[in-house]
């Protein structure tokens, strides 16, 4: 059984079909990339899995348990935690406070939650910033905090929504080993990303979505050679010119 099984998921907003009958499966320990042009429906699919809005149709099973229709806080409690593309730190609180909020998902004791939070901050190189208010962090640090907070809930599956968007190339290359380290500690990851360098580098498998439909899936090197994918990104004429 796959860790996450997405079957025939459709999401409509009024007359607009944002996600159209998408199938997807994620195995324990994988890093899965989801790519596609702007407005392709990646984030909508992502939001359906995370419970931000329920899918119109289809089923999403995590460890055999149906997630469709569950609320975000329930989905977090079964072991699926997300980050936000537009980071949402608790701005008036410190980095440690933010992370402790996440760690409370698995304990009721402040002392224990703090110990767990500090351990994660150390792993993500945020320990020195633990007493800094999160509103005064730089963007890369905020993205890291977003990760730390999500990790503190000890998820089995981590959903990363463009954690690298807005970062400079040097900052992206700092982020890559962090994400790989998280994966090696046993956390399965789905990552929605625009930055191809990052996604090619990290993913075991890639799903490509365009106009709400899955147009390709598989090995990163195969997927980028797929004419459908090139067409989606670069247009019909580019494909025609190559022949």
């Amino acid at each position: 059984m796959s860790l996450l099984e997405v079957k025939n998921v459709t999401k409509r907003f009024g007359g607009l079909t944002a996600v159209n009958a998408v199938d997807m499966h994620v195995e324990q320990g994988e890093i899965i990339g989801v790519i596609g042009p702007n407005g392709a429906g990646k984030t909508t699919l992502f939001n359906c899995i995370a419970g931000a809005f329920p899918p119109t149709n289809g089923s999403i099973r995590f460890n055999g348990q149906e997630l469709a229709g569950k609320k975000p806080y329930q989905i977090c409690r079964v072991g699926v935690t997300r980050t936000f593309q537009v980071v949402k730190p608790f701005a008036s609180k410190t980095v440690l406070y933010n992370t402790v909020v996440g760690a409370f998902a698995k304990t009721n004791q402040l002392h224990e939650a703090e110990q767990r939070a500090l351990k994660i901050l150390r792993e993500l190189d945020l320990y020195d910033k633990k007493d800094v208010l999160s509103r005064s962090l730089t963007l890369p640090e905020r993205k890291r905090l977003e990760l730390a907070r999500a990790l503190a809930t000890e998820p089995q599956l981590l959903l990363l929504d463009e954690v690298m968007a807005g970062l400079r190339p040097s900052e992206v290359s700092e982020m890559l080993p962090t994400i790989r380290k998280i994966n090696e500690s046993g956390v399965t990851i789905i990552i929605v990303e625009h930055i191809m360098q990052a996604i090619m580098n990290l993913s075991d498998r890639i799903y490509v979505i365009n106009f709400g439909k899955k147009i390709a899936e598989g090995d990163p090197s195969k997927v980028v050679a797929d004419p459908e994918v090139i067409k989606a990104y670069l247009g019909d004429e580019y494909v025609a010119a190559q022949h």
């Binding site: 806080y73 409690r77 936000f84 730190p89 608790f90 701005a91 909020v101 409370f104 703090e114």
Partner: protein, 349 residues
């Protein structure tokens, strides 16, 4: 207990000195008017601290909290008048009733944000006042409409919650305030406190971290309403007479919110500081301008609020804390560690 050990010994000493001073106050001051004013200041600090559980930590602005003061006062009084139940039990009953009402009001309203929640609480508070003013009898209980209730004098005893001297009232409300402050401190350093702060600030992110935001806001509302109602019973027993406008009125609701905003909501000592600064103003204007300019204190509070919000949007507790640090912490010395730092830093920015 490890929370205590983390404190700077100098801070503990100062706290102990302030506490001793407060407990000795009635021994030093003999004027019963002054004692009454001090009692009312502490009562105000108590109510504002209760309000703080919702208004300070859950990220909403309740403007109808006098409803729960009223529920407390009326419940204990009618139970005493009708069945002779000790006001102490009546106090508990009022608290439970207020918590229930608070949860019922909270279920639909706590989902609203910003001004909408504030408006809903004003409407409910005022609605309740008009209702009480127009009803004479509820079941076996006589609530006497707009004329209010007069509590029969009985002997001065703890069991009856009635004392000839004002001093016992002073001590009772002082202990109540200290307990509420302790409760606030414990809550801020617990899962509930963290979850409330998170849900108040970024509800979407909080949900994604496994927090059922509405549930924690309701818990805060229930605690706040329960404690507020105890303050209502206290007021009734001290004054021995109250009427809907005196206890259910909007001006009491506003006064509580003004004190919290000016003192600094979401902090432990902000409400106390606010009450210490503002309650004397409201009592003095009531004494000297009560006949000519009733309600003058709210005008003054409003002006002060505008100035404070302009220059210290987090309340006067922020400069007060800075002053305290300058006086008692050596420069460059880091503040105490642990959960306190998170709180201190969040307030002091």
């Amino acid at each position: 207990m490890h929370l205590l050990r983390k404190q700077n010994p100098l801070h503990l000493l100062i706290t102990a000195a302030i506490l001793a001073l407060m407990f000795l106050l009635p021994v030093v001051i003999r004027s019963s008017t002054l004692i009454l004013i001090f009692t009312l200041i502490i009562w105000s600090a108590y109510l504002t601290s209760c309000w703080n559980f919702v208004g300070g930590f859950a990220g909403v602005l309740p403007l109808g909290h006098s409803a729960f003061v009223g529920i407390g006062a009326y419940t204990s009084t009618v139970l005493f008048q009708t069945w002779g139940l000790s006001p102490w039990w009546g106090m508990l009953a009022g608290g439970v009733l207020a918590a229930l009402v608070g949860v019922i009001i909270g279920i639909p309203t706590l989902k609203m944000r910003g001004a909408y929640f504030a408006l809903a609480t004003i409407a409910i508070g005022e609605g309740l006042r008009v209702l009480v003013e127009n009803v004479k009898q509820v079941g076996p209980f006589n609530i006497n409409g707009p004329s209010g209730l007069l509590i029969q004098l009985s002997k001065s005893s703890f069991a009856h919650f009635q004392f000839v001297s004002k001093v016992p009232y002073y001590y009772i409300i002082l202990v109540m305030l200290l307990l509420v402050l302790l409760l606030t401190y414990l809550m801020m350093n617990s899962k509930i406190g963290y979850y409330l702060a998170a849900g108040g600030e970024e509800p979407e992110a909080a949900q994604a971290l496994g927090i059922k935001v509405s549930r924690y806001k309701l818990i805060a509302m229930a605690i706040s309403c329960f404690l507020t109602a105890l303050g209502g019973t206290f007021y009734a027993q001290m004054m021995l007479y109250f009427y809907p406008k005196s206890i259910f009125g909007l001006d009491l609701s506003y006064e509580i919110a003004f004190i919290a905003l000016i003192g600094g909501r979401g902090s432990i000592l902000g409400p106390v500081l606010g009450a210490m600064l503002l309650k004397p103003v409201s009592e003095l204007t009531r004494i000297y301008l009560g006949d000519t300019l009733p309600g003058m204190h709210l005008v003054i509070f409003g002006l002060v609020l505008i100035v404070v919000m302009r220059y210290q949007p987090k309340g006067l507790i922020v400069p007060a804390r800075r002053l305290f640090d300058r006086l008692f912490n050596k420069p460059g010395e880091p503040e105490d560690k642990g959960p306190k730092t998170a709180i201190a830093a969040s307030e002091a920015d």
